[in-house]
Subunit: 383 residues, 2 copies
């Protein structure tokens, strides 16, 4: 399979790979190009039947696409449990964009009583970045885990895997996967080149392993669901290809959109820190970042009162949409924005307060998480 | 670097790679092509000065080539100890050909008071062979370890590494190595192709790791000497390239020839079991194999008495040379063979008795080794 490089217009090419996301993202095109399925109303109904309530990220189609999620539901409806697998490359502090799918993952854990394998891919980050040391990787592995724990995951049902710490348990399985992936497949899926290091060539087998880990450790086949942003899809395509060769179920996936940053377009990215809200930002600094956010406002207050503003290109509205407003608030805001009843300054103020409040609370939970870190670590003996 | 494929004559091409050795081996050409150094008389003198005695495998140039062995000696003369690293791919039973360098390694351990990291590359064998299962790999890892232990290695100074069991300890180091090897280097050195699986692409980093393990675990730079057959040289070339990038010494090497089989030419190989003496052969079966060995004899007894035979193409003489005769016996045998004073049947009988005796004793030691297996296993906690 080729990496998706769809030319959106002459100036802006959509690029979506596990290492790079840029250009204007056309999610319908991604579904077609990646060969995934859209989340249909019928599927959402079935989810609601099992869970009692739909998570806003489903209602708003922040999670918008899947592979075999209908199959997972069918097994679940028939009484079979599944495990969850997602993760994080610990290259620096976590921002709100990273946490959006984690928040949804917690909903899945709670509603489906599902065990989560959360993989911290410290090896990948080290292999990928020339100037990245193992000790940096280790530091961020710990720091990022605290953010996960702060979201309220159940320590009894959550296992944090650190690749460099848990390879002793996983290596047998990783090698079995690696044996079934040729260089030619890996090159086609990930765009590897002659200059790619042999660690990166091997790495897809490492990222695949937790999808089979429950089956491997228990000795019977357990379905796995992977909630993650859609840029990780190439890894799961390879993982799914290998699954039947090892006698395991293909892992199902549910894909989310990229959380936009506070700038003009583009996803929230650690490489543009002024447009991202990091969990280690001081609440005041985050407050200020929001006040400097790009909006869909007009040149003058007069013009805006007369013509209204554009919420669809507004990063503040996007933040409200992804995390900070409920359905009713969003509807009202959208109406008032289009009608010119609310000015951008006011809107930014509301979001800034909410972001500040969220950070203050999250940072408290993050401090408490330090006492519970060990409880979450994967230990093959207590599986 | 290219794999060495030297055309010896029109019918017979010399091929020496870690996975394939065939054709008539020209060791001088290997030294030139691989860019190694011959073991000079001056170097042997320095070894003798340190060890008191030269091992027959040095005297007979069964170990014939090296990289930086002079440097290792220089450090040793200046009071610095070194570690040894060699290993075994556990694809089946061990034959005498495998044990020749191990016997020499024990001499090095004894004379230089050196710690040995013996790597059982169960992952490589599994990755390399389509029909090889992990449980087979595990079985032979254990069985082959018993052969090593039976040779009398010191449990206090010998650590058997099983790749699949010890990856937890090594993975950090392996990833650091893998980051410094590009696909293009690995392809050039090992001849990897598009159809090669990504496990094999990564594997050179795994085989390199024990060369740095003592330095990695102790935190200070410890020289390493690798005694092994010369077909493994590509792995060490890559390992040596990486060493300075990680701040470690380049591992030195000392290379041995291939032990011939009992057939007409070719090295002893598990793929031709009738020409190899396995340590799990019954002593009687081994006895019979020797009696069927290819010799340098003449068509008739009369002819041989008149013209003498040819020890240089004789597999029985080769066995005597590699393992079963001392210098005096060999000299006498060679003379009597060339002079037509001894017939092939007699010669085979002598070797067959010695092989049988060796096997009976080795198999007893091998049984006793079962009680000591655990003592030899690498455990990072007791380093």
């Amino acid at each position: 399979m080729e990496r998706v490089r769809v030319s959106v217009n002459n100036n802006e090419e959509m690029v979506v790979t596990p290492w790079e996301v840029r250009g204007k993202i056309d999610y319908d095109k991604l579904i077609r190009e990646f060969g995934t399925q859209p989340l249909t109303p019928e599927l959402l109904d079935r989810i609601q039947k099992q869970t009692g309530e739909l998570h806003p990220q489903l209602e708003r189609r922040i999670f918008f696409s899947h592979r075999d999620f209908d199959w997972i539901l069918q097994r679940y409806e028939a009484g079979e449990k599944f495990v969850l697998h997602t993760g994080r490359g610990p290259s620096g502090p976590v921002h709100i964009g990273h946490m959006i799918p984690w928040i949804f993952t917690k909903y899945l854990q709670d509603k489906f009583d599902a065990k989560l394998y959360f993989q911290i891919t410290d090896d990948e980050r080290f292999l990928q970045h020339d100037d990245f040391s193992m000790s940096e990787s280790e530091k961020w592995a710990y720091e990022n885990s605290l953010d996960l724990i702060a979201l309220g995951f159940d320590p009894k049902k959550t296992r944090i895997i650190l690749d460099t710490k848990n390879m002793g348990t996983m290596y047998d399985l990783v090698v079995q996967i690696a044996k079934r992936v040729t260089y030619s497949t890996a090159k086609a899926v990930f765009g590897f080149q002659d200059s790619t290091n042999i660690g990166m060539l091997f790495y897809p087998a490492v990222q695949a392993a937790p999808a089979f880990l429950e089956s491997y450790l228990t000795g019977h086949n357990v379905p796995c669901l992977i909630p993650a942003a859609i840029d990780q899809d190439p890894y799961w395509r390879v993982t799914r290809d290998v699954a039947p060769k090892l006698g395991y179920y293909k892992p199902a996936q549910i894909h989310c959109r990229f959380v936009p940053g506070l700038g003009r377009g583009g996803k929230m990215s650690a490489s543009m820190p002024e447009t991202a809200i990091f969990t280690n930002d001081s609440p005041e600094a985050a407050y200020k970042k929001v006040l400097s956010a790009f909006t869909g406002g007009r040149a003058t207050v007069e013009e805006q009162r007369k013509l209204g503003a554009n919420p669809d290109i507004c990063s503040v509205f996007a933040y409200d949409y992804f995390r900070f407003m409920n359905e009713k608030e969003l509807g009202e805001l959208r109406y008032n924005c289009l009608a010119g009843n609310i000015m951008c300054g006011e809107c930014k103020q509301i979001l800034a307060e909410r972001v500040k409040k969220f950070l203050i609370e999250h940072q408290e939970k993050r401090e408490k998480a330090k006492d519970h870190f060990e409880e979450f670590l994967f230990n093959p003996k207590d599986q």
